[in-house]
Amino acid sequence: MSNREPISKTSEWNFELLEKYDKAISHIANDFRLKTFPNQIEIITAEQMMDAFSNVGMPLGYSHWSFGKQFVNIEKNYKRGYMGLAYEIVINSNPCIAYLLEENTMTMQAMVLAHACYGHNSFFKNNYLFKTWTNPDSIIDYLVFSKQYIAQCEQKHGVEAVETFLDACHALMNYGVDRYKRPARLSLQEEKARQRAREDYLQSQVNELWRTIPNYRKNDSSNEQEQALSFPSEPQENLLYFIEKNAPLLESWQREIIRIVRKIAQYYYPQRQTKVMNEGWASYWHYTIINSLYDQGLVTDEFMLEFIQNHTNLVAQQSFDTQYFSGINPYTLGFGIYSDIKRICESPTDEDKQWFPELVTQHWLDAVHYAMEHFKDESFISQYLSPHLIRDLKLFTILDDDKNDYIEVSAIHDLDGYQHVRDILSSQYNIGDLEPNIQVFNVDVRGTRGLTLRYYQHQGKPLNDSANEVLKHFYYLWGFPITLEIVDNDDACLKTYHCPSQEPKKSESVKKEKD
């Protein structure tokens, strides 16, 4: 222990102290090789935090009632004391914007600085998903562009028309993501310049697809028909993209709005895939950094007690059978795994040597950085979840098969169970498993222009009731009848949904028969 003076002795913060803490923290972060974007740290009030929170954490965004609903909800819960506000919000941009709540104590501000401005920030900068799929340099510009564009559309076409259209896009937002193809980089100027050109070009492409006059170059009509039979040539998973490029009746501003919703969905996609890793990483570093501050004598014992209490709450995991259980706490799991990696590197047991032969030879800092950079939740868990941590969390798996009238415990934290528990937990973070796999299968190009979607049912999981509602939105966007087929692993059709629903037609035909 050094005998240096602590940076602060009371719980009141001020800007001077914030800067001192930031300096000390950045020094430590540097020692641990945390590479970050420059920080832009903004102090905001509780009301502003509610505003930011209801806008999915973004500093600005287009107007829509659903954000209002979000706001109303947050405001209600906050005012009644059902929930505290987030201590911080951090935005994946360059410079990295972090919002700190003014009500935080000095301890909390320091913790949040370490957590958001060095933990999350370095994650955004170095994780491969974020590096590949997001462009932090221009996201703020793009949000400005989208807000302005949608406001213009509202002026031109009316608030209601735009709102209805956005509703439909939001229903399919999760299906506006390219999972494999890297999207082009965005930039405000390019975006504006290209937007005009794109309008014309898109329309011409769509016209090409839907042309009714025979194509003179291809006299071979059978060839054309064959082509028509199989459009799209392969099932398409990016539903919004498909609509944007191919829906017959949309106007160009509507296509642009789809594109905006798509781009924003794509931007959030890495965050949805790295919740455990990201929160775990940030928690791991605030814990390590604050402890290091303490070791240097820069913070007081009182500071430490408050910090430990908050940290403990943050990484507490409720058991499945308590009233407060709401799934696995990503902070706990992530923090647990990173801490475990360090433990394995420094003092491996025989079990660890058997499970993680590649880790035991590494320096822990190399190992955690590698783990942060090269994985997403699913692969992170299946790579690093150790028997040790499974035992700590007392993880077990249950198999709920609707063919049986009971639930079976399929594995627990024992030698036979570790691998299975790990596999199941990993698959719980696989977005491909969480969301129904629905793709555009066929479009009747030459006939009704109807579109057929296919839900590839996995493990007999049905769709819930909202499917019909989503189909209405899909129908609104596409403009022609939509069919959703549920097919099993052998491509046999189990059930179909129609929009517009087909019952009225039946009654019509019955009538005719009667006549």
């Binding site: 499945f320 969390l393 098969d401 609707d402």
Partner: protein
């Protein structure tokens, strides 16, 4: 290097637009809630927010999701005594097994509940009534205030300088600072005169005395005539305008022909008058008089909710009102307003009596009398009698209305009059 920015002073109502859009979108449901609330509330309780409940299914944003069923395997924390192969009965609540039902234990998770602010509530109430904007702002304004004098202060703006006080202070200060020196000056001058009388010409003593006098005069001159320190300003404070008291009579026909819809319209009519009075008077009494063949002073609940059947004698209510005025509300102390709602039914022979009562006993003492006839099939004798009153008194106004949007015109004159004042 990190950059810190203090955003606390920035605009905070970023979500106002979105909140407004949300309210607009669910206007139908929210208005229903407002309507219900008005039904339940007391007339005097109109100035507060309201809890609005919207069924979750109306407000949901649908996305493709897995439903319950199929083969689901999941990992859970906190195993206590399970071993591999244990079979557990599936919980009944929702077929998903495991922990997801834990979240259901909270408050009615099927409904979306939120608070409508006081302003939003009043706004929606007005929207039904189709009030002109000017009236709306008038009614929602905070109480009228008046600036009044309250002594003097040492700080203020130049127009408020009180000259007498300031100069008096200046004089006092000049005396206080200059008094000693003036005395010394007088003494020196006396001494000089004496010396000059004894011997003329100059001597070192006389010279030094002259020097002293000169210096003293200079110092006295240095004391400023007026100093910021002397200034006194008239102190003005804002006080809520002392307002008179008013009594509002609500008269309603509760004979069998007044059904719930009519009563609902009547209630809004009364509320609107109350709102108006509330803005203009500090203290308001409300007297509820219900009548069929006989009239009775009742409390608000009985006024709106209990039912009676039988014929209608309007004059009974007017007589009662007149009695209450003479008994409890001396006209020199009280401003009297009356709102009467009826479906126009009256016993024919009674209408001339009503006319007579109004003309002689009531209207001379009343600030404003508004009468609405709700959903009449055709006007009866009462209407014609009242029309005579209307021609005699400007403060009497009547209207037959079919729905709540038509309430405002009957009170229009009242608002107009107040606006001109």
């Amino acid at each position: 290097m990190s950059q810190f920015i203090d955003r606390r002073q920035n605009h905070k109502n970023k979500s106002a637009v979105n909140r407004q859009r949300f309210i607009n979108r669910f206007k139908k449901q929210i208005k229903q809630a407002v309507s219900k609330a008005i039904d339940k509330r007391s007339i005097t309780d109109i100035y507060s927010g309201e809890k609005v409940v919207i069924p979750k299914k109306d407000i949901s944003e649908p996305i493709f999701q897995h439903g319950a069923g199929g083969q689901v395997e999941r990992s859970l924390p906190g195993n206590k005594d399970f071993i591999t192969g244990d079979r557990i009965k599936r919980p009944q609540a929702d077929g998903q097994g495991g922990g997801s039902q834990a979240s259901d234990s909270g408050e009615g998770s099927d409904d979306f509940i939120f608070e409508l602010s006081r302003d939003e509530f009043i706004e929606l109430f007005f929207e039904d009534l189709e009030l002109p904007d000017l009236v709306k702002t008038k009614l929602t304004q905070i109480k009228t205030r008046k600036t009044v004098r309250a002594g003097f202060t040492t700080v203020g703006t130049p127009p408020n300088i009180n000259i007498i006080r300031s100069l008096r202070n200046a004089l006092g200060r000049r005396i206080a600072f200059g008094g000693k020196k003036k005395k010394a000056l007088q003494a020196a001058e006396k001494k000089l005169n004496k010396m000059l009388k004894i011997k003329s010409g100059s001597s070192p003593e006389i010279e030094s005395l002259r020097e002293e006098i000169k210096a003293l005069k200079k110092e006295i001159k240095k004391i400023p005539f007026i100093d910021p320190f002397d200034l006194r300003y008239a102190n003005k404070i804002i006080r809520e305008e002392p307002t008179a008291q008013a009594v509002m009579f609500c008269i309603m026909d509760v004979s069998g022909s007044m059904d719930e819809t009519k009563k609902d319209i009547a209630k809004r009519f009364f509320i609107l008058l109350y709102l108006f009075l509330n803005k203009n008077y500090e203290k308001i009494d409300i007297v509820f008089i219900r009548h069929h063949t006989t009239a009775k002073v009742v409390d608000e609940h009985e006024f709106f909710y209990s039912r009676e059947t039988g014929g209608t004698v309007v004059s009974s209510a007017l007589e009662l009102m007149s009695d209450v005025i003479t008994e409890r509300y001396p006209t020199e102390d009280w401003n009297i307003y009356c709102a009467q709602a009826s479906d126009g039914d009256n016993w024919n022979a009674d209408s001339p009596r009503c006319q007579q009562l109004l003309l002689t006993e009531i209207m001379p003492y009343v600030q404003y009398y508004a009468y609405v006839e709700i959903l009449p099939r055709h006007h009866q004798s009462l209407w014609r009698s009242y029309q005579v009153v209307k021609e005699t008194f400007q403060t009497f106004n009547m209207k037959n209305i079919n729905n709540i949007t038509e309430i405002y015109p009957v009170l229009r004159k009242l608002f107009q009059r107040k606006q001109h004042e």
